[in-house]
């Protein structure tokens, strides 16, 4: 019997029990889909991290306040930024960032709300967000509390269209501001859309937008860009000791956290790692369950068709012919499951990406791997029932009802 005939024979067997065949392969379908999703999610996470490193630079240091010492207010303030910028060696710059609620922005009769960020002159350098046109505000602008603004590229486009924005006057909230420049398009990094924001001097933010005295001079985040990998550690040390000294705390019990971009990426990696491990288990368990399902259904099939096997043997089928028939049937079951699973995996990865649940990148070889896994499952779990069929005693098989 040729292979093609044998495949035809196996196919006949499966079509005879369509629903049963489909239900049997559910485990394989889920397992294969999980393998593909797992790899797509890993690749997605890696791509996201790579993007973030590209966008922010690997030598970025992030300073955030902790809850601080009881009895004293949390203390990461604008003056800290000035001090760091002055004293720390081996850094490109220091950028403070403080965000306020979205503000209504108006020019002529165009108006909409936009996220508003107060920051310092080093922002374009530290966050690697270059200017498109015009200029960014300077330390002098901050000192003088100049009423100026730099627009994200999308805000500028929405507000001015084809008109040149530089030197135009806009109203942000209740404050008239002169447009100094427009940032070059940068897109989204992590969850932040750099293009859909407006940037104002930090001091103006405190004066006009964050008037609660409790919040005055208060900072949520300070970014420091080291000049290189080599200076990163020394910069970290300097920052910690300067801040500790200024805040009157010890390094053992600080009221601030100094992290590198790398630290943050590591935590993110740990999260995706957990999810990936979970999916790996889902894949393994589903494939196992799917395999056992196939073995079970094949054993049922062998029992149901005992007499058929007897007839085939009585007219000259060799044990290997019988084994091949049932092995092929198991293989086709699992490959069918594999095929549906691959489609489900592709669909699932697309859905994750589309709904924003998780970034996924489909890796072509993962489809092949998952499909191959289904084949291995079919052969592995089909082998025992097929061997059982091949070893049936012909007389007993023929007598079977």
């Amino acid at each position: 019997m040729t292979l093609i005939e044998a495949i035809g024979l196996a196919w006949e067997g499966l079509v005879l029990n369509k629903l049963r065949s489909f239900l049997t392969t559910l485990g394989v379908i889920i397992g294969v889909a999980a393998v593909i999703l797992m790899i797509a999610i890993s690749a997605g996470a890696e791509a996201a991290i790579a993007d973030q490193i590209n966008a922010l630079g690997a030598d970025l240091i992030i300073i955030t306040p902790t809850r601080g010492i009881p009895g004293r207010p949390p203390t990461l303030v604008y003056d800290d930024v000035l001090a760091l910028a002055q004293s720390v060696k081996g850094i490109k710059g220091v950028a403070a960032e403080q965000i306020v609620a979205d503000q209504l922005i108006k020019w002529g009769n165009v108006s909409f709300t936009a996220p508003t960020l107060g920051t310092t002159p080093d922002f374009p350098l530290v966050r690697e967000a270059p200017l498109g046109v015009g200029r960014f505000f300077t330390q002098a602008d901050l000192d003088r509390k100049s009423k100026v603004v730099v627009l994200g590229s999308k805000v500028a486009q929405d507000l001015f269209g084809d008109v040149s924005p530089v030197d135009q006057e806009i109203v942000l909230g209740t404050t008239r501001l002169t447009v100094l420049g427009v940032m070059a398009p940068k897109g989204k990094v992590a969850d932040t859309d750099y293009d859909d924001r407006v940037y104002i001097p930090l001091t103006v933010l405190y004066q006009r937008f964050l008037t609660n005295p409790m919040m005055n001079n208060r900072l949520r985040t300070v970014f420091v860009q080291a000049t290189s990998r080599e200076t990163l550690d020394s910069a970290l040390g300097q920052i910690k000791s300067i801040l500790a000294q200024r805040h009157g705390v010890t390094l053992g019990n600080p009221d601030f956290i100094v992290q590198t971009q790398e630290d943050i990426i590591k935590t993110q990696q740990a999260t995706t790692e957990t999810f990936r491990t979970l999916l790996a288990w889902v894949a393994a368990v589903s494939l196992l369950v799917g395999g056992i399902g196939i073995m079970n259904i094949m054993l049922v099939s062998v029992t149901e068709r005992t007499r058929e096997i007897g007839v085939r043997v009585s007219i000259g089928a060799r044990p290997q012919d019988v084994r091949r028939q049932f092995l092929l049937e198991a293989l086709m079951l699992s490959l069918f499951g594999g095929l549906v699973g691959v489609l489900a995996g592709i669909g699932g990865a697309w859905l994750f990406d589309e709904t924003g649940a998780m970034r996924t990148v489909l890796i072509p070889w993962s489809l092949g791997l998952a499909f191959a896994a289904s084949a291995v499952v079919g052969i592995f779990f089909g082998y025992f029932p097929a061997t059982k069929a091949a070893n049936l005693d012909p007389i007993e098989a023929l007598r079977h009802e």
Binding site: M1, E5, E12, L16, R307, E308, G310, V311, R312, V313, S314, I315, G316, A317, R318, P319, D321, P394, I395, L398
Partner: protein, 239 residues
């Protein structure tokens, strides 16, 4: 010339119950090429057991079976399969057609399992149609077993047994499930096959069926009780 079948001191013991059951208890027998032999005997006398051994479906506990001079007891599994495939045709009381396959597909099975002398798909179909025509069922090639009468099913089974041109045809109560008219048709086919040189060994309970054979063997308690030429048959030929 060698007999086509030679068995010596065949013993088949079933280890069921307290006493081992000797289904065959020292059967020795020669069957010459071209003979038509009927085996008779009471139920349980060991006829089917003997047929299964002769058909290489079962191995005896003791004794020797030579088919065309070759020791079947020494054969590997693959050789036995080839034996059943090309050299022996087996017909059962219950037809044993595969219900999902058409008559043609059933007849084609032995060709599909043939290892040597494989032939093209077209030649196969021709061979199967020819086999079906030789039993008068050329027009029923695409019917499934449940669309055929018992007699027709048995004829499909005969076509299947013959399609690889075996020299030996074994039939275990081939007419056991058939009415007398169908039985006569089947016997007519077997007789004509025998005239073409196919050796036939057939088990039956009915003496008028057995009378189609040239030699009748009676079995009792796993032994051959009597073995002789069928006088009636000779007379027929003489007439």
């Amino acid at each position: 010339m060698d007999p086509i079948i030679r068995v010596e001191q065949l013993v088949k013991i079933y280890d069921t119950g307290e006493v081992p059951l000797r289904a065959l208890d020292g059967v020795s027998l020669d069957i010459a090429r071209g003979e038509f032999v009927a085996i008779m005997g009471h139920s349980g006398s060991g006829k089917s057991t003997l047929m299964n051994v002769l058909g290489a479906l079962d191995r005896p506990t003791e004794g020797c079976y030579l088919l065309e001079g070759e020791d079947v007891g020494e054969m590997e599994v693959e050789e036995l399969a080839d034996l059943r495939n090309r050299r022996i045709g087996f017909i059962f009381q219950s037809f044993n057609l595969l219900p999902r396959l058409t008559a043609l597909q059933n007849v084609m099975l032995p060709i599909r399992y043939r290892v040597e002398n494989r032939i093209s798909a077209e030649a196969r179909e021709d061979a199967c149609i020819a086999a079906l025509e030789s039993v008068g069922l050329g027009e029923r090639a695409h019917h499934r077993p449940n669309q055929l009468s018992g007699g027709q099913q048995q004829r499909v089974a005969i076509a299947r047994a013959l399609v690889n041109h075996p020299s030996l045809l074994l039939a275990d109560e081939p007419t056991g499930n058939l009415d007398s008219k169908s039985s006569e048709e089947i016997m007519g086919i077997l007789e004509s096959l025998n005239r073409q040189g196919v050796t036939i060994v057939m088990v039956t309970h009915e003496s008028d069926i057995a009378n189609h054979a040239g030699r009748i063997i009676h079995m009792k308690d796993g032994k051959i009780f009597s073995d002789g030429h069928n006088g009636k048959k000779r007379k027929e030929i003489a007439v």
